[in-house]
């Protein structure tokens, strides 16, 4: 473990946006410039901290590092416990990148800037909190903290989804649906978490203590069998697991672009992260019993999500359904329970987060410039928006799994990891890549290539280095990891391997359970 004194870095990553949100409450609303500067500084500090942690994480020791433990309610065993392992480090870095870029993209917001940034920073803090907390209570607390600001962010600063010039889904509908859906999922998960807390008999919600306890004395299989689905469905709603996904594309589409960036980039990863961290890791028997079902559902995500994306005409809906399709790969990687697949799942959370944030930022720019994101009305924008179009091609290629981008490596790991036990799913996952290229190429062709639509207002490109910065950061990170994935994969591997080892131990202890589901499957 790094020297104790360095644990403040993780706390800084988490608290900088929170402090900025508090500070913004007292900044006069007229000082929009300062509001933006404070937000940039705070997320910049988080990014710097996340990078420091990423580069200084001690790989020889592995395990949770940068820990900070502040007892809070000792009678219930709740304490403010921070710390990250390889998975946490990766996701914190992802979120720091997306948050920083999102704050920069938010410069397009001109209405009620102060309030917008306060909600936005609260959202950022919540997501950081989930990824850094090592206490089940706080994971849940931060999860809710991330979900709630979405309601005003979409309801106030969002836009309606239009088709043929008619409102198809209003932003109020989207905001309401998203909030109710995610809260309902959270409540389901809460039941599972309380049950888990009660049946451990430890009187603690500390994740490290629970992990240790359950690895020595696993929870009774019949309890695991009942608690596991509560957590998977509860958190699966945000992942978004088919058929509970329908809040997500509409939510993406209605949200302002910077919010969609975080929403698709990291918020959806909270679900898969929580499934991995709380359900799979703590309940190996439940995992072996239920994950084959999850592996089946993921294919629906991948194929069905992709096909629905093909039918969309709103740019944001295309990317929204594409996200739900690609999150299927993440869930598949978790469901196959092989080290390679699990590494792929975590790497894909990282890669997909960056890619989809990039895509939403680009669509946001196009929408701001042309005031439409209806595919039949667009075309030929590469001429007036060369930079944005280049990034658009890059995002489309990254999404379709072109080698050189992190997504390719991640999807490869998932597919290879799934091959031995879930061959049909692996084959369909490869098919999903083909489907992705169909709608992504259609999007690029329809938006940027071909003849320009003369009736559109003249679009201005992102020309200044400052305006280009978020796009460059996101593409740069995708390319860096895609070209040289070894460091990140080995970091993730440090933390996925213990989880797999625990499950293998559980399997060895109770071979009967394993064979039953295999035969019945």
């Amino acid at each position: 473990m790094p020297p104790l004194s360095s644990s403040w870095i993780l706390a800084l990553v988490l608290l900088a946006p929170a402090a900025a949100a508090l500070l913004l409450c007292v900044v006069p609303a007229a000082q929009a410039v300062w509001v933006r500067r404070i937000a940039v500084l705070a997320t910049g500090a988080s990014l710097a901290g996340a990078l420091t942690i990423f580069f200084h994480y001690n790989r020889a020791l592995a395990g949770y590092q940068y820990e900070m433990l502040v007892p809070w309610i000792s009678s219930l065993g709740i304490s403010f416990h921070l710390g990250v392992d390889g998975i946490g480090t990766t996701l914190v870095l992802l979120h720091a990148l997306c948050a920083f870029c999102g704050v920069l993209i938010s410069y397009a917001i001109t209405d009620r800037v102060k309030e917008y940034y306060i909600f936005y920073l609260v959202l950022i803090t919540g997501v950081f909190g989930v990824f850094t907390s090592l206490d089940v209570f706080f994971i849940y607390f931060f999860y809710e903290m991330a979900v709630i600001p979405m309601y005003p962010l979409i309801g106030i600063w969002g836009s309606d989804v239009k088709e043929h010039g008619m409102v198809r889904f209003s932003k109020e509908y989207a905001a309401m649906k998203l909030t109710i859906y995610l809260t309902a999922g959270a409540v389901l998960a809460l039941v599972g978490l309380l049950w888990l807390y009660a049946s451990s008999g430890l009187q603690t919600s500390d994740l490290v203590a629970l992990e240790h306890h359950f690895s020595l004395t696993p929870l009774a299989p019949h309890l695991q069998r009942m608690i596991f689905p509560l957590l998977v469905i509860g958190f699966g709603v945000i992942a978004p697991m088919w058929p509970f996904h329908s809040w997500s594309p509409i939510g993406h589409a209605a949200a302002p672009s910077a919010v969609s960036m975080l929403h698709a980039g990291v918020l959806m990863k909270l679900g898969s992260y929580a499934i991995l961290r709380l359900a799979v890791s703590l309940m190996p028997d439940g995992a072996r019993l239920w994950l084959p079902w999850l592996a089946g559902l993921c294919v629906m995500n991948i194929i069905y999500g992709g096909l629905v994306a093909m039918a969309q005409k709103d740019l944001k809906l295309i990317i929204g359904y594409s996200s739900s399709s690609h999150m299927g790969y993440v869930l598949l990687g978790i469901a196959v329970l092989t080290p390679v697949g699990l590494n792929g799942a975590v790497l894909l959370m990282f890669a997909h987060g960056l890619m989809t944030a990039l895509a939403f930022a680009l669509v946001g720019h196009v929408y701001d410039q042309t005031h439409t994101r209806y595919l039949p009305e667009l075309g030929g924008l590469a001429k007036s928006l060369p930079f944005i179009a280049t990034c658009g091609v890059i995002a489309a290629m990254a999404s379709s799994g072109l080698p050189g981008f992190a997504n390719f490596v991640a999807e490869l790991l998932v597919i290879v990891g799934a091959w031995d036990q879930y061959r049909l799913q692996a084959v369909l996952a490869v098919l999903g890549v083909v489907i992705t290229s169909v709608y992504m190429l259609r999007l690029v062709r329809g938006t940027f290539f071909g003849q320009a639509n003369e009736s559109l207002p003249h679009a201005r490109d992102a020309t200044t280095p400052f305006a280009r910065l978020p796009y460059l950061i996101l593409t740069g990170a995708l390319l860096a990891v895609g070209c040289w994935p070894k460091p990140l994969i080995s970091l993730i591997d440090l933390s996925t391997r213990p989880i797999i080892a625990r499950i293998a131990r559980a399997q060895a202890a109770a071979p009967g359970v394993g064979s039953t589901w295999r035969e019945s499957y």
Binding site: K177, I180, Y181, P243, S246, W247, I250, Y304, L307, V308, M310, A311, Q312, T338, P339, V340, N343, G380, A382, K383, V393, M397, S400, L402, P403, G404, F408, V409, L412, L413, I415, V416, W419, D420, A426, V427, V430, L431, V433, V434, S437, V438, L441, R442, R445, F448, F449, G450, Q451, A452, W484, P485, K486, I489, S490, D493
Partner: protein
């Protein structure tokens, strides 16, 4: 597998990475500096060519034992290791020299051809990226690295076909090329993963590496781990990749459309190198296919049918570049057929000579297009006098393509045809017929576009600048001499195929017949072409529709995929999931609220009545117990 004690130093890496460095430098510095970007691109590829040549000299001089492999680990997990490196053997060295050599000439040619283009820097950036991707395929040490390069050339091809993105036809053609290749790569990827999965019974010893797999394969078959059925599946899936990249039927549809790209791109990517990658891959993995007779059969037939069917399409095509595109399809068919017949050296031989003469033909066509801005052969004519170097180059390329005795194409085509003569009579007949058709369509193109006097005078058409004619002359020289360089020996073909007299005689007859007929029809006008068109009316009808592949695929994409499948999912999504399940739940909740709201009357007497009734019931039950 690294051979210790052999010092080739950084040369292999320099060969591989200098085009990538050029591409990166263009992206960072050159995007607004035209001269800088073209210099970087040409310099990068030339450097790559020089270092490849040095490597070859080094290998020959020190009599190094090939193959030499040098690699770094790219992904390292306990159950999955992927490396990235350079594998040097005669096959890869030859291909590297072809790619970088022909490529350098075409890059140079492009500096002039594209000089007025607003996307000049972008063009050279993507071209450099293409060179790197192609070299990644050629020098790959393992399947996954090959796949990496494979997808990247697909992307470069997409970007270059769609270079003039504002033109709908170009944008659509790029998309089509990428999609068709993606469909093919679906099979290819599965084949690669399956081969990996069956590469060892032990999970930790699975590998993508060519050399390890090659050494291990007989053993795997012997011990029964890899059954013949699985092997056939793997072989056919991997062949799918070649089907897409080398544009074999039925996935050939993208290549003619790819002619929407700039002509130097057609020359380099869609004739000389990238489309040959499929053939190269088959040769690279010949150790695999030689164990799968059934797959070889399929490969040979696909190749033979493509060769003949594409040559027929060239007969009635009027666009100069598209004639060459069909010709490329047809020649690739020859190569694929050669692999299928077990002659991977013959295939590589033809690949090499084809790279020279087809690049030459395309560059000559480009020179014409640059000068006249026309592509329809009937609108051209009389260029033999106006553009002598171009015309002679086209003629030399055409003769080499047709297999005129003494030129490079003659030798390489002879190698394939005599192989077919020995091993499969029907395929030989297809091949010989293709040879005659080839001679006819290329003679037609040259005679009509260059030799015949023009309808309207091209007074303004004049010879292209020397930076364009230079590469033409060099390639013309190579097209003539490439038959005498001992390429089959270099590729390890020890028993030289002395074509049987029958084969040579038939070929000569085919070439002579093809040329002669074209001369009679288009110059002497002794025979009217209308006669043929009338006589073979039905067949012409089929050819005009290009066997209906495009219609079929368009119908599938537009109707089946987009309107039926995607729309069905969309209906399920909108009405079943959102409309019924989700909004239905919301409606139910609201309805429940509306019903229960009735209780909230606000009339105090009612509340009191309910309260008292409750108390009475409770007391009563308490007493009863």
């Amino acid at each position: 597998m690294v051979n210790p004690g052999l010092n080739v130093g950084l040369l292999p890496w320099l060969t591989l990475f200098s085009p990538l460095a050029a591409a990166a430098a263009i992206l960072v510095f050159g995007i607004h500096h035209r001269r800088l970007s073209s210099s970087l691109a040409v310099g990068g590829l030339a450097l790559s060519f020089v270092s490849a040549a040095c490597l070859l000299l080094h290998v020959l001089q020190h009599r190094l034992i090939l193959p030499i492999e040098t690699a770094v680990t790219w992904i390292s997990l306990p159950d999955l290791t992927v490396s990235f490196g350079v594998l040097l053997d005669p096959l890869s060295l030859l291909m590297t020299l072809v790619v970088t050599g022909v490529g350098s000439g075409i890059f140079l040619y492009s500096t002039s051809y594209m000089s007025d283009d607003p996307g000049y820097s972008r063009y050279f950036g993507v071209l450099s990226l293409f060179a790197f991707s192609m070299l990644t395929i050629v020098l790959a040490t393992n399947w996954l690295q090959l796949f990496l390069g494979w997808e990247l050339v697909g992307f470069s091809s997409y970007a270059l076909i769609g270079h003039w993105y504002a033109k709908p036809a170009a944008a659509d053609a790029g998309k089509k090329a990428f999609m068709v290749n993606r469909v093919a790569d679906f099979g290819f990827m599965l084949g690669i993963i399956a081969l990996w999965a069956w590469s060892s019974p032990l999970a930790s010893e699975r590998t993508f590496s060519f050399q390890v797999l090659q050494a291990r394969l007989p053993h795997l078959l012997e011990m029964g781990w890899l059954t013949p059925h699985v092997l056939i599946g793997i072989g056919l899936l991997i062949f799918c990749g070649a089907l897409g990249k080398s544009a074999q039927m039925p996935l050939h549809v993208w290549l003619p459309d790819a002619m929407e790209g700039p002509t130097p791109v057609s020359a380099l990517i869609h004739a000389a190198t990238m489309v040959a990658a499929g053939v190269y891959m088959l040769c690279r993995a010949f150790w695999l296919f030689e164990h799968i007779p059934m797959a070889l059969q399929v490969i040979a037939w696909v190749g033979g049918i493509t060769a003949c069917a594409a040559a027929m399409l060239a007969l009635i095509e009027n666009d100069l570049k598209r004639i060459l595109a069909y010709s490329t399809l047809s020649q690739l068919g020859y190569m694929v057929m050669a692999v299928g017949l077990g002659g991977e050296a013959a295939a590589m031989y033809h690949l090499t000579t084809h790279a020279f003469f087809k690049a030459l033909l395309f560059l000559a066509a480009g020179s014409v297009i640059h000068a006249t801005h026309r592509q329809n052969i009937w609108e051209l004519g009389g260029l033999h006098k106006a553009m002598p170097i171009t015309s002679w180059s086209f003629l030399i390329g055409g003769l080499a393509l047709a297999g005129f005795p003494g030129l490079s194409g003659f030798f390489s085509k002879e190698a394939i045809l005599s192989l077919a003569y020995e091993r499969n009579g029907v395929l030989y007949l297809l091949g010989a017929m293709t040879a005659a058709l080839t001679a006819f369509y290329i003679a037609r193109a040259w005679l009509v576009a260059f030799f015949r006097p023009a309808h309207d005078s091209h007074a303004h058409a004049h010879e292209s600048p020397s930076v364009m004619t230079g590469p033409l002359i060099v390639l013309a020289g190579l097209s003539i001499v490439a038959g005498y360089l001992g390429l089959p020996t270099f590729l390890g073909e020890h028993e030289a195929h002395h074509g049987s007299p029958v084969v040579v005689a038939v070929s000569l007859l085919a070439v002579g017949g093809g040329f002669g007929l074209a001369w009679l029809i288009y110059v002497q006008r002794a025979i009217s072409s209308a006669l043929f068109l009338e006589r073979f009316r039905g067949w012409v009808w089929v050819l005009e529709r290009k066997y209906g592949f495009d219609q079929l695929y368009n119908w599938y994409v537009d109707v089946v995929q987009q309107r039926v499948i995607a729309q069905a999912c969309q209906l399920v999504e909108r009405h079943l999931i959102i409309g019924f399940a989700v909004n239905g739940t919301a409606w139910l909740t609201q309805a429940a609220g509306r019903v229960i709201r009735r209780c909230q009357t606000g009339v105090i007497q009612q509340y009191a009545l309910v309260f008292v009734t409750g108390v009475v019931v409770l007391v009563y039950t308490a007493i009863r117990r």
